[in-house]
């Protein structure tokens, strides 16, 4: 067995300050519910022990690998060279053909019961798996022969966790997640489309420090990352988007706190959460844009005005251009109250649904209607 210890990772030699690295490790510690003082242990774990890892790409778009490439803290270069012995990963490995396959089989045999298997993509099972083959073998048979030998399996992304897009109705290829195919107890699901690389690094850090799987929820996800709803952690940077079919209330994940690429996340660019960390979300949450979405969006975003900002424009998309003036005249001083009532706002006010039809921000206090 090759030496397990490597001191290759010297953050300062990479232009990453030791302090920045420790800060990152501190964030990992907090995420994992450890004392902040564990940052030092995590830093040591990330820079010394190098677990043997194979990465299997099945029915996928490679977006999860791309997401890992964007890792910061330890960036991908450190992960590849210093944190892991990444013996098999088709997207980056030098070897191809049988020379590549040989590395996969050798790692699985030599480190049986010790290596970590990361899976990206679902497994096509229809017609015995003919819809996906690698090296002349079906992905299904590769999964069955390699994955059970791993100490831990990390399903990285929604496809390997729950089937993902290929498994959406009518699921032409019989695509399934790893758990659904193999039913093993040592599988950690890190869903997301894409998943956040922070959650993979934190899961690995937890393993390297504590030697075990993190606590999981009923859907096999680490609770440190998927313990709260998106809505509960959301800062609502441009107002709550629930009226726009936002799935933040039923979706578990740490997007609002970890963000992506250290920069942003869906709600920060004013797109509603589509619930991509939940099983079957492509079917359960669709259609993603409710019937009023297009007109609502145009009126909600003052900056996004399709038409000059005049009051009639709020009514026009649904009722035609003459409605506003006639209702305004008809209702007089009770206009606002009546509008709320007619649009069932009274029962919806607490959830902001529908406010965005008339107000600059959903549920916002600034009223654009001149009542």
């Amino acid at each position: 067995m090759p030496p397990r210890t490597s001191r290759l990772f010297d953050p300062e030699a990479r232009g990453i300050s030791r302090r920045a690295f420790l800060k990152y490790c501190g964030a990992v510690a907090v995420a994992l519910g450890m004392e902040a003082s564990m940052a030092g242990s995590i830093a040591r774990a990330l820079t010394s022990a190098k677990p043997q890892v194979v990465w299997l790409n099945f029915s996928e778009c490679t977006g999860c690998s791309e997401s890992l490439l964007r890792s910061e803290g330890p960036n991908v270069e450190s992960i590849i060279f210093d944190v892991l012995n990444l013996n098999y990963h088709e997207t980056i490995m030098a070897a191809a053909g049988a020379r590549a396959t040989e590395l996969l089989e050798a790692t699985a045999a030599q480190y049986a019961g010790q290596f970590i298997c990361v899976v990206e993509g679902s497994i096509p099972t229809a017609q015995n798996g003919v819809f996906g083959t690698i090296g002349g073998k079906t992905m299904l048979s590769i999964a069955q022969s390699i994955i059970p030998k791993a100490k831990y399996v990390i399903s990285f992304g929604t496809c390997s966790s729950y089937g993902g897009l290929a498994a959406a109705a009518p699921n032409p290829t019989g695509a399934k997640g790893v758990s659904a195919v193999l039913g093993l107890s040592n599988i950690i699901n890190i869903p997301g489309c894409p998943p956040n690389p922070f959650n993979l690094v934190s899961t690995l850090a937890n393993y390297l420090v504590a030697g075990q799987m993190p606590a999981l929820d009923s859907k096999g996800r680490p609770t440190f990352a998927y313990g709260q709803t998106v809505h509960a952690q959301c800062t609502k940077p441009y107002g709550c988007l629930e009226g726009y079919n936002c799935k933040g209330k039923t979706t578990y994940g740490n997007c609002p706190t970890q963000k992506f690429n250290g920069e942003s996340w869906c709600v920060q660019v004013e797109h509603q959460c589509i619930g991509c960390t939940e099983p079957n979300f492509w079917d359960a949450n669709a259609p993603f844009y409710n019937t009023m979405w297009a007109s609502m969006f145009a009126t909600y975003r003052k900056d996004a005005q399709a038409h000059p900002l005049n009051n009639a424009a709020f009514c026009t998309p649904c009722h035609g251009s003459s409605t506003y003036s006639s209702r305004k005249q008809q209702y007089g001083s009770t206009f606002a109250t009546r509008m709320h009532s007619e649009h069932e706002m009274t029962s919806r006010l607490n959830t902001n649904v529908g406010c965005a039809n008339c107000h600059t921000a959903p549920g916002g206090t600034k009223i654009e209607i001149d009542d």
């Binding site: 020379r99 590549a100 396959t101 590395l103 920060q268 797109h271 844009y289």
Partner: protein, 860 residues
């Protein structure tokens, strides 16, 4: 408590007469707006703060980096000055940055020799190399001659060597010989290499007296075909005093290899200098392994000399090569090749994964199509969402606001700026680079070589990179570099160049994180941004100065990398592998064009739309999508006629994998029944032929600096160069687009979305360019739902199978004639495949023609 000032570096180099920058931010939120002052505290007054002497940080933007630019005056001294700059401010902990002036290196055009002294054994030869330090204006002839000294030393080969604009960076060998002379003193001579317009260079050659002389074989290695034989010759290096018998015998290795003639050679005082022949034979054996043996030449009183003979399998020159999985690509792809006479005669490309996304889309809300089709690819992320939204907007007949168009261009531009450098280094780079050779590089030499190859690239600590590589090798576990074909004969970079490119490989890994941040700023995340919707974009709140400035800062960093590292890297490959400017090319090209700079397409496209047929750059034909069909004859689909995508069908029917019948999940797109190459080369050729100014300037610059011609663009190298060329042009254009966006916003033009309603029925088409080539989406709406949805993607154009007429796909055709030196390591095939940047996964194995057996080929 005082707040720390965070700088991107503690020290930096400022080129004389130039600038260098670092960034500054605060470590924590200040209680009020705080100013950081940057002043020179001590040192050389030639170094000054050019901009950013006073940086203001507010309570809201304290974490955003601001840039300080230092300049160094061009001075006459040859002393590299140094100065310390102090960063301070009220309530801040003072810190400093040390700036060092780097003297401008003006390399006079000179000849460079690999050594300054050379020992030549008496009666034998020794080699050195000569190379130019700068590109010549025309062919240059270098003459090497003895300038002074012992006349028994002479130039045996290479007295005259010609360097072209293409190969000037490639060292050429000169052989010196020392005659057998009667004296026993070791003579010396000075040899000078000279060429017009270049400073001469000299070396001192010393004759090394030989006590015994030497046994001299004609070659140290020999290939012996299985079932056949091969010969080499032997002579003595100097006249013996009496007759000498040289014995030739196998001392180790494969017993299939044997001496069949010349096992004992007798040399006399008269014929010692006449070569005598040794014949080796390789028995035809059952194994598929290429054996190897060492034959030792020995004689009393002489040092033994070894000749290594290698058995070459007959399959090496004819047979089937199958590659599965092909790695360093996106997706699942398999290649099968028939090799004849050492060259590819036929090729079959197989896409081995089917996901059924088109079937999944049917019956869903059209508005969901962008977000779902985006998941077609996480590498060419975004483009499918973009194309899908445009197809629906076409169906609705909706014009989107200018700002939405610009934001989409910026997101897609960020995708190109991310994707292309990653392709060159992470996916394609190992086709040209031998990491093992980087271990033997002299880091100090690499520094010098890098100054010539990439003079504007940031300084890199090559010794540290090499140490890190060595540590990886010493750990015994090469990780992703496991099973590389180290030492392959097709690898031609010098050790130092290998080290430089490996260092840039690591730099590119760091840089791509920043390129992705651009997309995340406007798209919410990368991969799979979420701000593009039917009607426009959603990210209005992020279109503020802070976020756009952050975008610009990342853009500037990526642009610098493209100009200073990526393009020089491509030029290095072009210089070292000039034959690849004539291999792996194709004839027909299709570009839909991309980046609408006005609302009118195709007239307003930054990269124009067009078709080039038969390598004819004098004509750019218009694109008519009615002429596009997809053929399913050789794919695993229900049989039927070739259909236009507006009426296309996707009905998978699996049968066995058989290259004579059905062998791919890819359909075969054709334009007027012709196979068309799509991608960077198609875009660049169309733009070049159409006279697009930015592209034309970049192409001409590249051709001039490499000594290539436009005809050379139809090649593997042309494809790889086109990718870098358009990356640079797109980066420059993005800076212009963002300026327009800023002007729009500041003039109160903030609209990013247009209202619409989805009709009961409609059809829409969108034409775009993914980094990998022309992409089309076709939607058919019925009952306000998706009726039929067809996508014709770049990799089906490039990697599609044969059609009903037997016309092979572009890559299948481009591979024909490509040499395969070692079928066990078909590096050449991977160079061609990777140059197309496939977005599907595959693998390689070998089926021997004679036996029909399939063996797995070792592929890097």
């Amino acid at each position: 408590m005082a707040i720390n000032i965070v700088t991107s570096t503690k020290s930096l180099s400022v080129p004389e007469g130039g600038n260098a920058s670092f960034t500054v931010r605060l470590a924590s939120r200040p209680s009020r707006t705080t100013t950081v002052s940057v002043t020179r505290a001590s040192g050389d007054s030639d170094i000054r703060v050019a901009s950013g002497a006073s940086l203001s940080f507010t309570r809201d933007n304290w974490y955003r980096t601001k840039t300080v630019t230092l300049s160094a005056a061009a001075d006459s001294d040859k002393v590299a000055g140094q100065a310390v700059f102090s960063l301070s401010g009220s309530g801040l902990n003072r810190t400093s940055v040390t700036a060092k002036e780097v003297e401008k290196i003006t390399t006079p055009a000179a000849l460079k020799l690999s050594v300054t002294t050379l020992q030549v054994p008496e009666g034998g030869t020794a080699n050195f190399t000569v190379v130019l330090s700068a590109a010549p204006a025309a062919n240059v002839t270098v003459n090497v001659a003895r300038a002074s000294g012992d006349s028994s030393l002479s130039v045996a080969q290479g007295a005259s060597r010609t360097f072209t604009q293409t190969n000037w960076m490639t060292p050429q060998t000169v052989t010196l010989a020392a005659a057998n002379d009667a004296d026993s003193t070791a003579g010396q001579a000075v040899f000078t290499a000279s060429a017009s317009g270049y400073a001469s260079a000299s070396l001192t050659a010393s004759e090394v007296e030989s006590a015994l002389g030497a046994i001299v074989p004609s070659s140290a290695t020999l290939d012996v075909p299985e079932g056949g034989h091969a010969t080499f010759t032997v002579r003595l290096g100097q006249a013996p005093s009496a007759g000498v018998t040289v014995a030739v015998a196998r001392t180790s290795g494969d017993a299939d290899l044997n001496v069949t003639a010349g096992a004992s050679l007798t040399f006399t005082t008269a014929n010692w200098n006449t070569p005598q022949t040794v014949t080796l034979a390789a028995t035809a054996d059952a194994d598929a392994l290429a054996g190897q043996s060492v034959f030792t030449l020995s004689a009393a009183g002489f040092a033994p000399v070894n000749v290594t003979a290698k058995e070459v399998e007959p399959g090496a020159t004819s047979g089937r090569v199958v590659i599965d999985p092909v790695t360093r690509i996106e997706g699942h792809l398999r290649f099968e090749l028939e090799v004849s006479g050492g060259k590819v005669a036929k090729a079959w490309s197989s896409v081995t994964l089917y996901r059924g996304i088109e079937q999944i889309l049917a019956g869903r809300s059209p508005l969901d199509a962008p977000i779902m089709t985006q998941r077609l690819c996480g590498v060419c992320t975004y483009i499918h969402a973009h194309c899908s939204a445009r197809a629906i907007e076409d169906a609705v007949n909706l014009a989107i606001p200018d700002n939405a168009r610009i934001v989409r261009n910026l997101i897609l531009g960020a995708q190109f700026l991310h994707d292309h450098p990653v392709h060159f280094y992470q996916l394609h780079g190992l086709d040209w680079v031998d990491i093992s050779k980087a271990l033997t590089a002299a880091p100090a030499e690499a520094v010098l070589a890098a100054r010539i190859l990439a003079p504007n690239a940031p300084a890199i600590d090559y010794a540290a990179v090499q140490t890190r590589l060595k540590a990886l090798v010493d750990s015994g576990n090469l990780g992703p570099f496991g099973n590389s074909p180290f030492g392959h004969s097709a690898m031609r970079l010098t050790p130092e160049e290998n080290l430089i490119v490996v260092a840039h490989y690591l730099e590119a890994l760091k840089l791509q994180v920043k390129a992705a941040k651009m997309m995340a700023i406007l798209g919410g995340k990368n991969p799979h941004p979420q701000s593009t919707v039917v009607g426009g974009v959603t990210c209005g709140g992020e279109l503020n100065a802070t976020r756009l400035n952050a975008f610009k800062a990342y853009l500037d960093e990526v642009k610098a990398f493209v100009a200073d590292v990526y393009l020089p890297g491509v030029r290095l490959v072009a210089g070292r592998y000039p034959e690849w400017a004539e291999l792996g090319g194709f004839d027909n090209f299709l570009a839909y064009g991309e980046f609408p700079e006005t609302a009118t397409e195709p007239a307003g496209l930054f990269l124009p739309r067009g078709i080039i047929l038969g390598r004819d750059l004098s004509r750019v034909l218009p694109v008519d999508t009615a002429r596009i069909t997809e053929d399913v004859t050789r794919g695993w689909y229900a049989a039927g006629p070739a259909l236009n995508p507006t009426v296309g069908k996707t009905q998978p029917v699996w049968s066995s994998h058989d290259v004579d019948q059905h062998y791919s999940w890819s359909k075969a797109p054709r334009y007027d029944a012709q196979a068309m190459e799509v991608g960077p080369l198609a875009r660049v050729l169309v733009a070049y032929a159409a006279g697009q100014r930015d592209i034309k300037a970049e192409v001409d610059d590249f051709l001039e600096s490499t000594g290539l011609t436009a005809d050379h663009l139809f090649s593997t190298l042309g494809r790889t160069a086109a990718r870098a060329i358009e990356t640079k042009a797109i980066g420059e254009a993005m800076s212009r687009w963002i300026t327009t966006l800023e002007q729009n916003l500041s003039s109160g033009k903030r609209q990013i979305f247009s209202s619409y309603s989805i009709p009961q029925t409609g059809t829409g088409e969108a034409l775009n360019e993914a980094p990998r080539g022309a992409l089309g989406h076709w939607i058919n709406i019925g009952s306000s739902k998706i009726g039929n949805y067809q996508m014709v993607v770049p990799s089906t154009w490039n990697f599609g199978p044969r059609d009903a007429s037997g016309v092979a796909g572009p890559v299948e055709q481009a591979l024909i004639g490509v040499p395969v030196a070692d079928p066990q390591n078909p590096v050449e095939i991977l160079r061609v495949i990777h140059s197309f940047d496939p977005c599907v996964a595959c693998g390689v194995h070998l089926i021997e023609k004679e036996t029909g057996r399939e063996t797995h080929v070792k592929v890097i």
